[in-house]
Symmetry: D2
Subunit: 461 residues, 4 copies
Amino acid sequence: MRKIIKNGTIVTASDTYFGDILIDDGIIVMIGVDLDDEGAEIVDASGCYVFPGGIDPHTHLDMPFGGTVTVDDFESGTIAAAFGGTTTVIDFCLTSKGAPLKSAVETWHRKSAGKAVIDYSFHLMVSEVTDEVLAELPQIIEEEGITSFKVFMAYKNVLQADDGTLYKTLLVAKEQGALVMVHAENGDVIDFLVRKALEEGNTDPIYHALTRPAVLEGEATGRAADLTALADSQLYVVHVTCAEAVWKIAEARKKGLRVFGETCPQYLTLDQTDLERPDFEGAKYVWSPPLREKRNQDVLWNALRNGELQTVGSDQCSFNFKGQKDLGLGDFSKIPNGGPMIEDRFTILFSEGVQKGRLSLNKFVDVVSTTNAKLFGLFPQKGTIAIGSDADIVIFDPSVERTLSVDSHHMKVDYSAFEGMKVTGEPVTVLVRGEFVVRDGLFVGRPGYGQYLHRRRFGEA
Amino acid sequence: MRKIIKNGTIVTASDTYFGDILIDDGIIVMIGVDLDDEGAEIVDASGCYVFPGGIDPHTHLDMPFGGTVTVDDFESGTIAAAFGGTTTVIDFCLTSKGAPLKSAVETWHRKSAGKAVIDYSFHLMVSEVTDEVLAELPQIIEEEGITSFKVFMAYKNVLQADDGTLYKTLLVAKEQGALVMVHAENGDVIDFLVRKALEEGNTDPIYHALTRPAVLEGEATGRAADLTALADSQLYVVHVTCAEAVWKIAEARKKGLRVFGETCPQYLTLDQTDLERPDFEGAKYVWSPPLREKRNQDVLWNALRNGELQTVGSDQCSFNFKGQKDLGLGDFSKIPNGGPMIEDRFTILFSEGVQKGRLSLNKFVDVVSTTNAKLFGLFPQKGTIAIGSDADIVIFDPSVERTLSVDSHHMKVDYSAFEGMKVTGEPVTVLVRGEFVVRDGLFVGRPGYGQYLHRRRFGEA
Amino acid sequence: MRKIIKNGTIVTASDTYFGDILIDDGIIVMIGVDLDDEGAEIVDASGCYVFPGGIDPHTHLDMPFGGTVTVDDFESGTIAAAFGGTTTVIDFCLTSKGAPLKSAVETWHRKSAGKAVIDYSFHLMVSEVTDEVLAELPQIIEEEGITSFKVFMAYKNVLQADDGTLYKTLLVAKEQGALVMVHAENGDVIDFLVRKALEEGNTDPIYHALTRPAVLEGEATGRAADLTALADSQLYVVHVTCAEAVWKIAEARKKGLRVFGETCPQYLTLDQTDLERPDFEGAKYVWSPPLREKRNQDVLWNALRNGELQTVGSDQCSFNFKGQKDLGLGDFSKIPNGGPMIEDRFTILFSEGVQKGRLSLNKFVDVVSTTNAKLFGLFPQKGTIAIGSDADIVIFDPSVERTLSVDSHHMKVDYSAFEGMKVTGEPVTVLVRGEFVVRDGLFVGRPGYGQYLHRRRFGEA
Amino acid sequence: MRKIIKNGTIVTASDTYFGDILIDDGIIVMIGVDLDDEGAEIVDASGCYVFPGGIDPHTHLDMPFGGTVTVDDFESGTIAAAFGGTTTVIDFCLTSKGAPLKSAVETWHRKSAGKAVIDYSFHLMVSEVTDEVLAELPQIIEEEGITSFKVFMAYKNVLQADDGTLYKTLLVAKEQGALVMVHAENGDVIDFLVRKALEEGNTDPIYHALTRPAVLEGEATGRAADLTALADSQLYVVHVTCAEAVWKIAEARKKGLRVFGETCPQYLTLDQTDLERPDFEGAKYVWSPPLREKRNQDVLWNALRNGELQTVGSDQCSFNFKGQKDLGLGDFSKIPNGGPMIEDRFTILFSEGVQKGRLSLNKFVDVVSTTNAKLFGLFPQKGTIAIGSDADIVIFDPSVERTLSVDSHHMKVDYSAFEGMKVTGEPVTVLVRGEFVVRDGLFVGRPGYGQYLHRRRFGEA
Ligand SMILES: [Zn+2]
Ligand SMILES: [Zn+2]
Ligand SMILES: [Zn+2]
Ligand SMILES: [Zn+2]
Ligand SMILES: [Zn+2]
Ligand SMILES: [Zn+2]
Ligand SMILES: [Zn+2]
Ligand SMILES: [Zn+2]
C-alpha cells in the first residue's frame, strides 16, 4: 500500500525543503509539492522535520561481557532505537580465537532473527589473523555482506589484539574492500594502571576514568593511523572522546589518509565528573573510553562540524544498575562497561547540536545517518531521502519539549544516563521500508520485521 | 510550460539516484520514478548525470585592469559559463576610494544588465573603511543583497588594503552577517621582489611566479585567519594555490574558526613550468597567485576531499594573448593577470576529479555548486536539485571524450589555457530557471535573461 | 694590577666547578685550584658563584619616547646594571627617516660617552631602506661595528616599517653579516583597536593589554619568520611574551631557520592582572607587548629550557610614575611604554629560574650572558669565563635573601616593578675588565670607564 | 706526574680559547696562558684543538646476538674508541627474564675487567618489571651506580617488552632518579613484515630496510613519549634515524617533557641505498633501525643544531662480514644487526659536522661529549675541560686529511662502513685521567687501565 508523507520539511545531508514524499512498496518513489495519489494513505507531517532514519553504526545488543549479558536484546533494543528515530543498527558479532568466524555470525543471526523491529547488520570482530581466518574472511564478506572488521587495542588478555594483528587486518581489508574499526586505547598500560589503582585501594567508579587517561587514547589512535598509512588501508576509529584522539585523526586526514572517526552522544554531553556521583551512581557512567574533562566537548562538536570526525554512534551497551553495574561495588574494574544510548542518540544530537547552533540541520543528518550508510556500504538504500531509497523515515516534531527518563524510555535497562535532562524534539512517527514502526508515539511494529542487511564493500557505495 | 527531465542519474551534494524531475514555472516541483505529466515537455537525460547548475563564486567579467579590460563581458562570459555547466556567477564589483559604494554597484549593474544569459550576483570590493563606507554598507546589504566583501592584501598602491582595513571589514561583516573574502598574498614584499627582478633584467613571464613565492601566500593567509580569530568573524580565502596556505586554513578550522578556502581549476591541473613555455606563451599562464610547483596539486585535491578547502571558483579574468597579454613583453609585471576559466571549471573538476577517483560525484557537486550557494546566501534557491529550488540544471554526458581548445570554446578570448587537453564529459544541455540556455550543445539562451540575485546574509541559508 | 678571585664556584654556560681565577691587565689569564700569585690582589668568593658578567642585549637609556625621555641615562642606567650583575649593555640607536644613520650613531655616542660605567654597544634602528641607507650601512658596520638592525612592526605612523622594508633589511643583513631584530606586533590592527577603545571610553591602563592581544604578536612573529625564510637571512625576535609567538619561532627553527627569540623578566614573572592595579598603578606595568595571561609564563620558561627561546633581555625603558607614566591618566595610549628592568634581570632569572628549578645554573648563564654575546658578535671577549676573555665577572652570593624595592634599587626611576618581591641571591661584587665597579655591595666604578664595543658580524664569533 | 698540554685551542661545549692545561694526578688543576711548571711533562698541542674526550653513550662490546657475538670486545673496542677520540663508553648489560639483574651485571663486569683501556660504565636492559626486579633495582642503582635502563620496543619474542613494562620502568625511573632508554620501533608489525618478505622470497639486505619503515619508528617514538608524559618521567630515545621520530621528540619537548634523543654517525652520513650494494655488501649496512632515505640527514643535522636531538652515540656493534654478516645470505633477517662505529663517531661528527658548517665547534663537543655526561650522571667528572674534571683529553689535529678504511682502523672487525671516505681531522693524542692512551697516533695504553664508573642519578649532575 502506498503512503504520502505530507507537508513536512524534508531534510537530507545537503538539502532542506518543503514537500511531500510518496512511498510505494517500501520505497521512496516520488517527492514533490502537493503530491496527490488516489488510495495512498496520507501521513501528516505538518510542522515537523522529515529526516532519513537514523543509522546507528555501533551497538552491542544481547552481548555477553564479563560474565553477564547486556539487558537489551535485539527486541527491546531495536524497539528503543525506533522510538529514538533510528531505523538501522549495525551490531558487533564477537568471535572467539580458534572458532570459525561463520559460527560466530550464526550465533548473532540467532540472537537477532525474529526479534528486530528495524533493519540491522553486523560488524565482525577480529582477534587474530590466522590462515584459517584469512581463508574464511572473503567468504564471510561474500555470503554475509559483512564488510567491516573490529579490532580491539585494549582489554588486555580478553579482546585485545596485538599490532601485528591490526596490521594484518588492515591489509586484508584493503584487499577485500572492507573497513577496519578500532577501539583505540593502550590496553597494556591501562591494565597496569587498573591493577595499581586496585592495589592502592582506589576502587570507586571515578578510578575507571583515572586509569584510562586521554593520552592513552590519543596514543593508540595515532598508532592505528600510522599502521593504516603503512598498509594504505582504511580505518574507522570508534567512540572518539578527546582532543588527543581527534588531533591524530585530523593529522592523518590532512595527509590524505582514509581515516574516519566516530564519537558518541555521551562524550558530547557528559563528563568525567559524572563518575563521581555519590551512592555508586558513578557506575552508570562507566564507558570505555571513559567520559573526559568537559573541555573536550567543544573539541568534539567542532570536529563534527568541520569534518575531522564523521559520524555519531551510540555504543549502546546497557547493563542494569541493580544486579549488573553493582558487580563493581568495591572494585571499579568489575563494573560492566557501557550504557544505554540507542534511544537517545538521535534526539541528543538534534537538541544539543542543531538547537544549540553547533550543527546545521544538514550536518546533523549527515552524522547520524548519511555518512554512516556510506562508510558501511548501505548507501543509497539507507541513509537518505531520495528516489529509490528505502522509505526509512522519521517524522520529527521539533516543538516538543520533554525530559529524558528511565520512566519514559523504552529500553529495558533500569536507568537513564540522561535522567532529568530536558531536550527539544521527538521522533513521533517512524517508518521502516514504508511500514510504521512507531506511529504518533506508539509502538506499532513487529519483532521479526527487521531484515538483515548485506552490505557493500568499502568504497562501492 | 512544464518540463520533465527523464531517466537521468540525479546527483546532489549528498545523493545519487535514478529518477525524473518535473519543472513548473522554473521551479523543481516533483522528483520521482517514471514521472508523467500531460503536456509537459520531455527532456531525455538517459545515460547522463543530472547535476544542479554550477555556481561560480569568483569571476571578473568586463573588468578594467592595468589600463585594459577583460575580453569577456557579461554576455560572452555567461554564454561560455552556460556551455560549461555554470548557471550562476558572482562577479566582483570594484570600488574606488572616496567614491560612493552605490555608484560602483550601479556601474556593475550597467555592465551586466541586458547581457547576462544566466543568473548573477556581485561581491563588493572594500579598499577602505571610512565613516562613509560604514554608513553605506548596511544599505548596500539591505538593498542590493550584497553580503560578501573582498579585501586585497596584495597589489600595493593599487588595490591593497592595510591590515587595519581588513580587520575593520571583518568586524563589520560579523555585525552585518557578511562574509569577508581575501586575496591573500603579501603585497609589500611582492612589490619589492618585482622591482628587483626587473632591475636585474629578469623580465620573462616565469618571473611572475618567482616574485610571488608560496611562502608569501601562506603568510598572508595565516595573517587573515589570525585577524578573523580576533574579530570572531568569517573569512573566505579566494584562489588558494599551495600547501602553505591550505595548512593555515586547516589550522584555523581546527580551532573552530569560520574560515573557508576556495581553489581554482588552474591550480589543480597546471603548474609553474607552464610559465616557462617558449615564445612568450608563458604569459597565458599568468595568474595571481601564480601557478605553483606540481606537488601542490595533490595537497589541493586532498584538501577538497577532506574538507580543508570548500569550494572551487574559476577566477575568470580573460585577456587576449595578442593585444593584451603582450603588453607584458619585456616586462612580466605588465602582463595582465588572469585567464579564461569560466567555461572549463565544471568539466575540469569532473574529468580530473571524479573520473580520476579524486572526488566522489557528491563531493564534486558540493564544491562546484552547493557549498558555493550556501556560503554566499543563495541556498536553497540555487545549488541543488530539490523541491522548490530553481530549476538550474545541467545534463551532463560522461561518455563524451573531447579536447579543450580555443577553437571550440565560447569565450571571446583568443586562447585556451587547456589547449589540447583531453577531458571526459560534457554539459550537453543546461537550463536556468527551467529554460534552456544550452540545448544539445547549442546556445538557445538570450542576453538579458539572466537575473540579478539578492543574496541572504551569511549563515542565514 | 693582578687579581685572584678565590674559592668561588665558577659557572659558565656549560660548566660548574670550584676554582680560582687570575686576572691580569683586565683579562682572565689563568683558572685553577689554589692559584697563588705574588702581588695579586685576592678577592674572596667563598660561598659564592662566580658568573660571567651579564649581557643585556636590549636597553633603552636616555631615549626619547612620546615627548618625554627615559629617566635613566647611560650613567644611572649602567650603574644600576652593574649592581644587577650586568657588565655589558647593547642599547638601541634610534634613527629618523631621511637623516644620515651616521648622525644618529653620533647622537648615541654623545649620550653614552663619559657616562657609562660598564661596556656598551649599539643596535641600529632601520625605518626605511633607501638607496642612501643601503649605501651607508656597510660603512656603519665597518666603522662602528654595529651588526644588528632593529625593525618595528608596530607603532604605526611613528616607528613602524612596512613588510617591504623588513624584507629588504633581512636581505642586507644576510649580505653584510648582520642580525635583524624585530618588535613583532601587528601595528595596523593595534592602531585601530587603540582608537576604538578610546572612542568607547576605555581609557584605563588595562586597555593597553586588551588592545594588543597575543594573537597579534603571534601573527607578526610568524610573518617575520616567513620573510626570513624567503630571504634566507637571520632574525632575532625581541621581547617574546606569549605561546603564540614562541610557537612560531619554534616552527621556524624546526625548519632549520636562523630565527632566535628573546624574552624578558617581566613576562616570566608578572602578568596581565598587574595592569589592573588600582590608583593608576597599572600604568607601571605598561610594556609593549603587554604582560600576558599567567599561563604564558610556563611556556616561556619551558622555551628557555628547551632552546626554543635563546636569550633574556631587560627592555629597560624607565619612566617615572609621577610626571611621566601619569601622562596617560585618562588615556592609556599616552602612558609611556616600558619599565625599569636593567637592574633586576639577572637576579630575577637566578631567583625565579635556578632557585625554583626551572633552569640549570649553566642554562641561566647561557641566557643572561653567553648566547647574547655569541649572537651579537661579542664572544669570546664577553659572555664567558675563559682564558683570554675580558674579566667581566660577577661574584654572586646565593645565600642572600632580599626584597626588591625602589628604596634599594639604583635606578633613578621612582618605582620598582617588583616592589616587595622576595628574591634569593645578590651580585655582591662586579668587575669589568678586571676593575671593580661594585665591591661588596658598594659602587666603586667611574662614569666613563665603560668602553664602546665594536661588534663582529653575525656568525663570526 | 704532572703534564702541561700547551698551545692548543681548547674547546668546550660553550667556549673556544687558546691556552694551556695543567694536569696533576689525572685531574685538570689549572688552565691558563703560558703555564709553566717545573717538572711537568710538556705535551705540545700547537695547531690542534684540545677537546674533552668523547663519551660514547651507546656501545655493544662482547655482546651475544642471534647465536653469534660481536667481534670487538672491551679490549679491541676500547682501543679503537681511544684512537677515535673517545675516552668513556657506556655499554649495555643484557639481562634475561627470570635471572637476577645482579648476575647480568656481574657477567658484564667479567667481560670488561682487565680489558678496557678507557673508562666505562653500563646501562641495564629491562625486559620485565616483576616484584623481584622492583626489589633489586634500587640496589643496583645504589651499589653499581647504574642509573639508566634500556627497554626494547622491537625484536619481538626476543628482547621486546610490552608497553606495560615500559610504563612501569618509567615509573621506577622517576622514583629512583634514572633515565629510561628505548629502542623505538614497532616490533609487532616489523615481525609480520619480515615474515611476509621472506615468504615472498625477498631475502636481500635491502629488505631489512623495507621491512622496518620509518613510520614504525615514528610511531613507537611517539608512543614512548606519550607514556613518559603519563608517568611524568624521563626518556632517552636511542638511535633516532628519521624525520618521523625527530618530530615526535620535538613535540614532546615543546610540551616541556624530559624527552631526549640520540642519533648516530651512520644515520647522518649513510643512507638506504647502501643496503643495495652488490655482492651482499649491503649486509655491512644492516643496522636497526635501518639507514633511511637521504633526505632525513638534513633533518637530523638540523635537529642536533637546534636542540631537538641532544646526543650522538655510535651504537657500536661489530660483526665480521665473513663468518657473521654472511649468516644472512639468502635471509636478510639472519644478518646480525649492527656495525663498527666506535672509532669513527668523533671524527665523522667533526668532519661532516664542524668542517661542513653544520655544527659549531661548541655544539660538536656538546653532542659527542658534554651532554652525554650530563644525561648519564658522569658530569662534571667527565665531559668537559674544567678545573677538577678528569683529564680525559683529545688533542685533535684538524689539518690532517685522511681516508677511513679497514686497513687503518683499530677495530678487529673485517670491514669499515666508511671504507674510502675522506675525512678531515684526527685525534692524534688521547689521555684518560691524565695518562696517555694514544700518543702521536700510537697506542700506549694498557688493558685494564680503564675504570668502571659509578654514575649519579638522573638530574643530580
Ligand atoms: Zn569499545
Ligand atoms: Zn562498543
Ligand atoms: Zn585575486
Ligand atoms: Zn579574482
Ligand atoms: Zn619593542
Ligand atoms: Zn625595546
Ligand atoms: Zn637498538
Ligand atoms: Zn644499540
